[in-house]
Amino acid sequence: MTNGLTAQEVAATMNEFGLVDQVRSNRIRIVTPLPRVREALERARRVLACDHLVQIAAVDNRKSFELIYHLTGPHRTVLSIAAEVPRDRPEAPTVSDLLPPAGIYERQIHDLFGIAFVGHPDLRRIILNEDWPGDEFPLRKDWKPRPNVFYGGVPEEAK
């Protein structure tokens, strides 16, 4: 295992994307505009030796959505690459071709938040049941179950 990455090392490579911030002794956060996410991840992978995608965290902060890609590598430092997704246009470029595990993670985020990943080979439903309405995204902050809508399970008449 090599030594951890310093904020300076990370900033030297990633500064052009946005703010680089050491948030914990072993975690460095980089903000990047959404269209440059793929480039930022590739740069982290190639130059900073981040070979492991830990998680794609998705958050609804009521104003917009955020996607935070956590990566790590033999240096054991976690790089969190954060991008904002506008609420009125919930789309993001896929990274499943760069980082294969993202294939499942993006499908899950799509089901729960309704963010469409452009270029994903197969954005089918994965986590919610097949009867769940296609236009309702339960993990959005403004989602509440509506009365008289069938969300899956055994329909009332069949009981």
């Binding site: 975690r27 492991h52 054991r76 294939g103 499942i104 994965i126």
Partner: protein, 393 residues
């Protein structure tokens, strides 16, 4: 890159959930595997946003009943870090002991299940009988065999007496001896050798590329272990080794888990013999300040991650859970391409997902365009028949 494989992964629970597969095959050879595992989605992440730090812990405990301590520990340690509270040493040691006992019960469970998948039911019975010693220890220390409820934000809820500690220590030598026996058995039994060696192989590059974690990754020579890479609880004080292997197949994963069992016995022994005195919990504020934290933990199945955002209240703003099984499903789909249908139960079991009690496999044969459905039981029986005819095991 192999044919576009689009595996469908489980949500939170790391094990034993119902699974549905779709296999595209040419005769006996797998061309593509699709996995459908959303049967366990309950809506826990959303519920966590409306339960305070006391109420959310029992909910998170039941994300998965086999690694329940993992989920509660990774959560409370994240909140404790956000609150900047110093958890007493004794509590950290107790949490470590329970964590390693959980790893032991989980790996013994897995060993039994893997044996059951290849029809080796004697080993299944033996490992689960030995597992009862671990369950007894857990019950003495926490009050329950499963879903221990030992964690709370700020420490642990129960303090073991010297007698409890002595009783647990007394069980360890027997466990060590039995585990060493299993290691010898695996290396010499014709059945395990035939069904595990060369099956589900992942090279180091593939394992990294497809995001594998835990014993599955360590069997391919990847030395990632959160206990070493991002130490938490008492792991920076207790001596242990990260177990890796280079086989990269199911046999390697078996060896890694058995190695980890022995390491865990050592950690439990060291932690109990050196259990610090003092309080088991510390008072914490009701609310957590606004912050973002990525809490990581080495669960029995691999790297477990809780991404938490807090917002000056007594509830989380967002809790995003990534379980190790979710990370490993991609590698299952990849490593099964080119293998036989008969190998599906073993390779799936090797990443240690939950028992697939209600799984079904749909097999589409490209050669004769026939589609048939098999239950997991039928697939397991098919596997045993295949190897009996082919290799006489």
């Amino acid at each position: 890159m192999p044919e576009v494989v689009v595996p469908i992964g489980p949500h939170h629970p790391a094990l034993k959930e119902p699974v549905n597969f779709k296999v595209i095959a040419e005769g006996e050879l797998i061309v593509r595997l699709e996995i459908d595992i959303a049967y366990n989605h309950r809506g826990i992440e959303k519920a966590a946003e409306s339960r305070d730090f006391v109420k959310v812990v029992p909910l998170l405990e039941r994300v998965c009943g086999i690694c329940s301590h993992s989920h509660t520990t990774v959560f409370v340690k994240g909140i404790e870090e956000v609150m900047k509270v110093g958890v007493p040493k004794r509590a950290q040691y107790i949490r470590t002991v329970i964590a390693e006992l959980e790893r032991m019960h989980s790996h013994l469970l897995w060993l039994g299940v893997a044996a059951h998948e290849i029809g080796f039911n004697t080993l299944f019975m033996w490992t689960w009988r030995d597992r009862e010693a671990v369950q007894d220890s857990l019950e003495e220390l926490t009050g329950n065999r499963v879903n221990y409820g030992i964690n709370e934000v700020g420490g642990v809820r129960r303090d073991p007496t010297d007698r409890d500690v002595a009783r647990v220590l007394r069980r360890l030598p027997v466990l060590e001896e039995r585990i060493a026996k299993y290691r010898r058995m695996i290396a010499h039994e014709p059945t395990t050798l035939a069904r595990f060696r060369g099956i589900g192989r992942l090279t180091r590059e593939e394992a990294l590329r497809y995001g594998t974690v835990g014993p599955t990754a360590r069997a391919s020579g990847i030395e990632y272990d959160i206990r070493r890479d991002d130490p938490y609880l008492a792991y920076d004080e207790v001596p242990f080794e990260v177990v890796t292997d280079t086989h990269g197949d199911v046999y390697g994963r078996t060896l890694v888990r058995i190695g980890e069992l022995l390491q865990s016995v050592g950690i439990v022994r060291h932690a109990l013999e050196n259990l610090p005195g003092g309080p088991i919990k510390v008072a914490t504020p009701r609310a957590a300040p606004r912050a973002e934290i990525l809490s990581r933990y080495e669960a029995p199945r691999g790297e477990l991650v809780h991404f938490i955002r807090t917002n000056n209240t007594d509830k989380v703003e967002r809790l995003d859970i990534r379980t190790p099984t979710l990370a490993n499903w991609t590698s299952v789909a990849v490593s099964l391409v080119g293998q036989h249908l008969a190998d599906i139960p073993v390779v799936v079991a090797a990443i240690d997902p939950c028992l697939s009690c209600t799984s079904r496999v749909t097999i589409v044969d490209r050669e004769d365009r026939e589609t048939k459905t098999m239950t997991w039981e039928e697939l397991r029986a098919h596997g045993m028949r295949f190897y009996r005819e082919k290799r006489g095991v």
